[in-house]
């Protein structure tokens, strides 16, 4: 059981990475404590809570059910927005790729909206949707939606014309062409779009939680990890801010990892 761990530790490249991480943590610790230890705090980093303080604050959190509820809330929001983005974005992208009229009609308007950051939509979303949850879901959806559509379009447009010619010469119908040529060709692009979209979604969810929960809107217990961070800040529990940040980082990393595994499964054929 220990063999793989041993192999990992003695592997030169991973041991280098480990050394660097340890040095990074030591550097962080020293800088954070510099105010107390040396009397002169290091600028900026000096005010960040030390790693040891963070761990100290984190341990009681692990048994706090409110903490884990925050996790669940954020994850739920991320996946709702993400799934909507996939469910609507993939067909939408395919429609634009296949139908020239639709593309000509819709794409320019789409491109006009795209540079508007999803968060700029928060006020409009709050006005429009009846509940806070739906507003967050809408904004989250937007973030991933653009990425997925662009990626699907790119993937569909890059299909080698020869595949279509080959299919036609073998007498395939429109539906068949779609099912057997277009769809498999865009799956890798969807996978890429999904990975990138997931990262954006997390950003938007955290931001939305902070804005709607902690912004001047003051909507009460919004919940979620973003709210957790903002709340910790307002309560001057700086250690918990970092706890929250790291928690989000882990949660985001796991979500992206999950999406990547699913994506890899569907694109097995692209690798030799």
């Amino acid at each position: 059981m220990f063999r793989p761990i041993q192999k990992f530790l003695f592997n030169r490249s991973s041991s280098r990475g480990l050394i660097a991480i340890i040095i990074f943590l030591l550097f962080w610790e020293v800088c954070s404590r510099s105010g107390v230890w040396f009397g002169i705090p290091v600028p900026w980093i000096g005010k960040v809570p030390a790693p040891t303080a963070v761990v100290h604050a984190w341990i009681p959190m692990l048994s706090d059910s409110g903490y884990w509820t925050s996790w669940l809330l954020s994850i739920k929001r991320v996946y709702i927005g993400f799934i909507f983005a996939m469910v609507i974005g993939i067909p939408f992208g395919l429609l634009l790729a296949i139908n020239r009229t639709a593309y000509g009609l819709i794409f320019p308007t789409f491109e006009v909206f795209r540079p508007i950051p999803p968060l700029a939509w928060v006020p409009v979303a709050i006005i429009f949707w009846p509940t806070n949850e739906m507003s967050i879901a809408f904004v989250t959806f937007l973030g991933a939606f653009y990425t997925i559509v662009i990626n699907v379009l790119g993937g569909a447009q890059a299909i080698d014309q020869r595949f279509f010619q080959a299919a036609r010469s073998m007498g395939s119908s429109q539906g068949d062409v779609f099912k057997r040529i277009v769809f498999p060709a865009v799956v890798p692009s969807i996978a890429v779009g999904a990975s990138v979209g997931m990262g954006i979604t997390w950003n938007v969810v955290i931001a939305a939680e902070m804005i709607s929960g902690g912004g001047s809107d003051g909507g009460g217990k919004g919940g979620g990890l973003g709210f957790f961070i903002w709340d910790s800040y307002l309560n001057n529990s700086y250690d918990l801010i970092v706890v929250g940040m790291i928690s989000i980082g882990i949660a985001g990393y796991l979500s992206s990892g999950l999406i990547r595994i699913i994506g890899d499964h569907f694109t097995k054929w692209t690798r030799r």
Partner: protein, 285 residues
């Protein structure tokens, strides 16, 4: 149509422009916009569909936008709008330049030296998944003042994207180019200058375009949470002060400027990589 063209006796550039304007594609594009605007107008003002009715009307937004004496104080004729635009643009500019100056060299080294990558990349990858906005409270704690945290946040987002894309850009350079350079007698530094940097350029510029977008994204969010002036700030305060048409004005302005900055980066890239433009043009022809 050709007969009309002949009659008008235009030069080549004017002719191609007119052809573009009269092409079916252009018509579709305009039609698309018009349909959208009609839908907006109808759903909000005319039919007053549920939920839609609460949104600001197209008419209100337009009149506000072009009025010389706007009710809520912001239109293209007011000094205020440009103050906000300038504030946001300056911040994005500072953050983007900083992110590029730090991110590109870092990415180049990460791609170029295996040793360096083995040490540094794990730390980089540990920090990257943390959403930029999760840094907001920490940034406020770390940096005094109002501008610095906002710029820091915009910088962070751009930095990670730029460094990552640059690294990928170096890694995708075909091994043959490195081998050829070494055969021809280039030393390590020369390889870096003549192969690594030009070879990674296309990826670097794609990264920079994405980075500008991320920069705006982070900036707007940061402004909405804590800032004075700026387009994000104006959107947020317009909402809290119930000045709904101004929200839309802010959004439109954001979209417009975001697009322009992206196009600027793209055109700088094109002019630096003329060789690629020619190559791409020939492959399509």
């Amino acid at each position: 149509m050709n007969k009309i063209m002949l009659k008008l006796n235009l030069n080549l550039r004017e002719e191609s422009l007119i052809r573009k304007l009269l092409s079916p594609r252009f018509f579709l594009m305009i039609t698309g916009f018009v349909i959208f605007l009609c839908f907006w107008h109808l759903s909000v003002e005319v039919w007053q569909l549920p939920r839609f009715a609460q949104l600001p009307t197209l008419r209100a937004v337009v009149t506000e936008f072009i009025s010389t004496n706007p009710i809520y104080g912001v239109s293209i004729f007011t000094h205020e709008l440009y103050q906000h635009i300038l504030a946001s643009c300056l911040r994005v500019f500072a953050a983007f330049i900083l992110a590029t100056l730090l991110g590109v060299p870092l990415g180049l080294f990460l791609g170029w030296s295996t040793k360096f990558r083995e040490y540094v990349f794990p730390v980089f990858e540990m920090l990257r998944p943390i959403p930029i906005l999760a840094w907001v409270p920490l940034a406020i704690v770390m940096f005094t003042g109002i501008e610095t945290p906002v710029i820091f946040l915009a910088f962070l987002g751009s930095f990670f994207v730029t460094a990552l894309n640059t690294m990928l850009g170096v890694q995708q350079i075909d091994e043959s180019y490195f081998r050829a350079a070494r055969c021809l007698g280039a030393n390590s530094f020369q390889v870096f200058k003549h192969v690594v940097i030009p070879g990674a350029m296309p990826f670097i510029f794609t990264g920079l375009q994405i980075s500008v977008g991320v920069c705006w994204f982070s900036l707007v969010a940061a402004e909405m949470v804590s800032g004075q002036y700026g387009l994000g700030y104006i959107i947020n305060t317009s909402y809290t002060n119930v000045r709904y048409p101004t929200i839309i004005i802010g959004m439109i302005t954001l979209g417009f400027i975001g697009y322009i900055t992206s196009a600027m980066v793209r055109s700088v890239g094109k002019s630096l990589m003329k060789w690629r433009m020619r190559e791409l043009a020939l492959s399509e022809g």
